[in-house]
Amino acid sequence: MSSTYILVADDARIGDLLTMASGSTTTAVVVGRREVADRVAAGGVDSVIWLGAPAADVPLEAYGPAVAQVVAEAAPDLVLAATRPADRVLAGAVVAATGAQVFTMVRSVTVSDGSVELGRDVFGGIAQEVVRVTGPVVLVVDGGPDVTAGSAVEVTERAAEVRPGVTVVEEQPAERAAVDLTRAPRIVTAGRGVKSRDDLALVDALAAALGAESACSRPLAEGLGWYTHDRYVGVTGQHVQPELYVAVGVSGQLQHVVGARGAGTVVAINADKDCPYFAEADYCVVGDLYALVPALTEALS
């Protein structure tokens, strides 16, 4: 049977990685708190290697070389990691240590005799391909939901050296708790058509009327800073699959649309009847969002 190593950086949201590894013997290499290792151990893997409790001032990334050593010794067919920041650094260490090829945006994996077949999106989702890769493979993909607790396997603790050079001086918690858009059943997204930060109240009111989470396209998070990164939908942001997705003043650039292609029903509200989003929406409402959004909120309440 093929073997798969799953890298975990203090976060048990690896449900999709476990699905991807099904049919393979799975080992989780866990960096961070013991409770995360225990959670993963009860989540459906075959074994867990835990690299010990990190000191408070040691960043998770400092375990990169230790994780890479564990993986290099085992030489598994496949290594999986979530797209979260610290997990990516661990994956990078494994790529460097093993000479593995690394792939992202992977939809399907089949491991067979000495090669791995991958179905994946390429170039930010403009096309897809199926490839056969020979040699070690690392995949960095969405981690998915938290693992569900079942019967637990043993957690093997292994002493690890941490890479020096970076110490944590201070932690400042976010003002608001991060939202997990990937699980939201309804999402209302604001785009560049919203002219000022104060106008987001209109979009928020619509979201409240629908019982939806508020989200945004990239410029509103990354240039304007109106939203935090956890609310940004797009190829380098959140990939969402709500039942209802309402895009308000979002033109529909590929960069954004790729993050919301999993949506059930898509409503796009835009003044430009030729905007690209209308080609990928179920309901294309052409008009001024400043009139339409309040009218829609009113009609829902």
Binding site: A96, G124, V130, T167, A174, L244, A279, V286, A291
Partner: protein, 254 residues
């Protein structure tokens, strides 16, 4: 100390066209300095000025990366000079291969104490080059960096995380991947573009690792859900809202 900034000369997939068989045609997509790398260059310029360091742009790509247009585009954004590797079989390289070559460039430039990268490239978007590069160099890596300050050998780095922000002390060479909003890239003026023509570029000889064994079995355009694309005229907002709500109720979406 020198500060290196990794950048990529790459086209935006938005401008490429995809055939019915999934073949990607880049002929109408013009390459540029990948947009998040522009953020890294801007952060690097500010830091280099504060520390009195030289700012070196490092890159690997096909001969296009070494073209006058590509070099000027990079140098006009504030880099002092470039150290690049060009290889005409480069197209399609993954993050690992890119990082392995960039690590050699960093070694050859010498005296580099800090490498900055952008969040991700415009064409591949893997968000991995910094992570592999740090591991290749044996240096720590910090991602999602929002600010960098301090002196050589003692940097204070802030980075954003899901639960908030973290302040870190860095006491040695490091790779920092800057967050997309760490700085707003400046648009080069005519003076910058003219000055760029006089700045040096070193074409570095590096051992380019062979491409990995990847056999493409099939390509296809993206699988899109069938959408209704029903147009609702919003010139009467109340009527449009009523029509949309009725349609969503009929679909049992709300």
């Amino acid at each position: 100390m020198k500060i290196a900034v990794a950048y990529k000369w790459a086209p935006n997939p938005q401008d490429a066209s995809v055939s019915g068989s999934g073949a990607v045609d880049w002929s109408r997509a013009k390459p540029a300095i990948s947009e998040y790398d522009q953020v890294a260059i801007t952060v690097g310029r500010g830091l280099a000025d504060a520390l009195g360091a030289e700012l070196v742009g490092i890159s690997v790509g096909t001969s296009e990366t070494g073209s006058s247009m590509a070099r000027k585009a990079a140098l006009s954004r504030g880099l002092d000079r470039l150290a690049i590797v060009t290889d005409d079989d480069w197209a399609g390289a993954d993050a690992g291969r890119t990082a392995r070559v960039l690590a050699q460039v960093v070694e050859q430039v010498g005296e580099v104490g800090l490498v900055l990268t952008g969040d991700s490239s415009v064409d591949l978007g893997a968000q991995l080059v910094g992570a592999v590069l740090g591991a290749e160099l044996g240096w720590p890596v910090v991602t999602n960096v929002t600010s960098v300050a301090g002196a050589a050998g003692e940097l204070t780095v802030s980075r954003s995380r899901e639960g908030g922000t973290q302040s870190l002390r860095v006491t040695g060479p490091v790779v920092l991947s800057v967050a997309p909003d760490a700085a707003i890239p400046t648009v080069p003026g005519m003076k910058d573009i003219l000055a760029a023509g006089k700045k040096p570029t070193d074409v570095v000889e590096a051992a380019v690792p062979p491409p990995g064994s990847v056999e493409v079995l099939s390509t296809a355009p993206p699988t899109l859900k069938a959408r209704k694309t029903l147009v609702i005229d919003g010139s009467d907002p109340a009527a449009a809202a009523a029509e949309l709500v009725a349609a969503l109720r009929a679909d049992t979406v709300i």
